[in-house]
Symmetry: C2
Subunit: 376 residues, 2 copies
């Protein structure tokens, strides 16, 4: 089928590697990924309702996308007609968790053998849904498909990269705008609200903001004020249609102290140095080791931390950077790269960037505002 | 314990009625309700991460709030110190679904008998979490506590009513503002974005907007335009900290037709008539019957529909208005009241209001904009 919006050959491969005969995806992000961007507009942000919550499924028997199906609720009928999805079978007899699972189980029963191995998303499949699947498919073996689906999504398409770039730019702009509202009495809760508002202005769903002001390690938005002379980090997440960015920038009300400047400069130095290793072919373990080595060369290494992890539809997805991994980076992978220092008199100094692996190196996404953001 | 933020006696009662020895709540809204407003700020809007998703628990053995506990993740430590919750035991060894469930199961094991009946939220407890609970508590009986928790929340406190009033007002204002942007070429997707933006301006989380323009029944925001002479309904949901409002208002680009005016007037007539029955003591069934009777008296009854349902932290919660229910309305209950007509030449004409039951009658919340909203 030519209208499949993901790499069907890769799906076959990852399912084969995991020993999975058919996959039943149900998390919002994986349903969106496998349908090619679709999700019930009513329940995308409001899953709960009545005695339970909404659930959709995409079912795909391995190697047979022509037998794939979608299960949703009756209220989606018109949306699905207006915005058709590629799946050959669209069943809207579901809706609430158990009901969707019964429909999905029944569709799957005619597509796999009685003792097949079915990959579900254990952390995203509600208990009543799981019980309904067990009733419909009493002899199959259920295994977790979460990592196989992470693997499927590891290499981002040009369209995905465009969305991720837009999100990263918008999150960085929102953070920079929030620093500007610094004034006497401003609380970290106020600042978080400004970030959320700024994201909304840019068509980005606000996800979170860590707001760490002054010599405190409290990162949750609160009634704590951002006072004159204090540094502030804003470490914020936002998304468009489940594609997210996670960025941290530093600000100060007035001039930062010499020590604060040093820590921030060391963040940037490491963040810039490590980018030279972000290119196709660098083994994950080498990236981790180079990050560690670069950190150790810094004056304040003892209170510092470096980490890199994949980001896309989930924070901490492929590439899963681990010291012992020999797997190489590939073009189209996207990383979240973080350097931070916790210093008791200054506070929590941190820079986090989104960096994509390109065919010949890297692309910093949302690089705005990496320098000090000085507020009045 | 005097600092319990909910009606502990009522919880005992609803658990006893359901034969539940201890409840393990895990949905965001019930965790928030039982903690008195707390939820991990990082995961409130971004539950997924890594190979799974975040999960919190509040566990309460029946009749023993002094043995209740909270389970969350390690990153919540400082937030919980800065914003302490009433629960006597706070365990942050959880985080991901299975891990939180293992911690919750272990805490519960020392608090209930081996063969106890445990109420969990089946539609909100992930499968891996459920399996971890089964491993920790191999001999207990798990039953669904969703309706018992609905029941616990049925009567809203003055604080809850204040939040619901604020949400309803803000949702109505956001809808009215969106109608004003009517112009040639405006799409229902544009209008939905304006509603979301306006809610954000008011500190309200956008949940959904049904946008039904002209003689079409497509309610999902799309590239469909709102053209001159067409009616439009905006049926939108928003929330603050899980307390939500759901409101529908009517607009028209230019003057609505005579038929459109008639249908809208009939909506208002029914919506106003039924309010006289919204007072303590009216049996649910009587409210439903009076709504049906009022609908039947209207000229366009044949294409009309009336429905009322409870709303609060969940759309469609107690009071569950059913024709055969003799249960009486009580002060502090909140209703969503809807009248609609589907007419093929006009479109979908609908008014939906939030109406609270007060000690001597009703309070319309967010009543702004019930008249025609005329755009250019």
């Amino acid at each position: 089928m030519s209208n499949v919006p993901f790499d069907a050959a890769k799906l076959n491969h990852v399912l084969e590697e995991a020993g999975i005969d058919a996959v039943l995806a149900t998390s919002r992000h994986n349903v969106r990924y496998l349908t090619g961007g679709y999700y019930d507009h009513f329940h995308a942000l409001a899953p709960r309702g009545g005695a339970g919550q909404y659930e959709a499924f995409v079912g795909i028997p391995r190697g047979r996308v022509d037998s794939a199906f979608y299960v949703g609720g009756g209220s989606e009928k018109r949306q699905l007609t207006a915005m058709p999805i590629w799946l050959p079978v669209v069943d809207v007899s579901g809706g609430p968790t158990g009901q969707s699972a019964a429909a999905a189980g029944s569709l799957l029963r005619s597509r796999v053998s009685e003792h097949a191995t079915i990959g579900i998303e254990f952390p995203f499949t509600p208990a009543d849904s799981f019980q309904a699947l067990q009733r419909e498919l009493p002899h199959v073996r259920f295994v977790d498909a979460t990592n196989a689906l992470h693997e499927l999504r590891a290499i981002k398409t040009a369209e995905e990269l465009a969305v991720l770039r837009r999100v990263a730019d918008g999150v960085a702009e929102s953070i920079v705008a929030a620093f500007r509202v610094g004034h006497d009495g401003v609380t970290t809760r106020d600042l978080s609200a400004v970030v959320a508002h700024q994201m909304g202005d840019r068509g980005i769903e606000f996800l979170w903001s860590f707001t760490c002001a002054g010599p405190s390690y409290l990162r949750a938005p609160s009634t704590m004020t951002w006072d004159r002379g204090q540094v502030l980090h804003l470490d914020c997440g936002g998304e468009i249609g489940d594609w997210l960015a996670d960025i941290c920038r530093m600000g100060c009300r007035g001039e930062p102290s010499t020590l604060a400047r040093e820590l921030h400069a060391e963040c940037l130095q490491l963040q810039d140095e490590i980018r030279r290793w972000i290119r196709p072919g660098t083994p994950y373990g080498e990236l981790a080791a180079e990050g560690e080595a670069a950190l150790r060369r810094l004056p304040h290494a003892a209170i510092g931390r470096f980490v890199a992890h994949g980001i896309g539809m989930v924070s901490h997805e492929q590439p899963m950077i681990a010291p012992d991994s020999t797997r190489p980076l590939e073009a189209g992978m996207v990383l979240s790269v973080e350097t931070e220092f916790l210093e008791p008199t200054v506070g929590h100094v941190k820079i986090e960037d989104v960096v994509a692996v390109t065919s010949d190196g890297y692309e910093g996404m949302g690089d705005l505002g990496r320098d000090w953001q000085i507020a009045s």
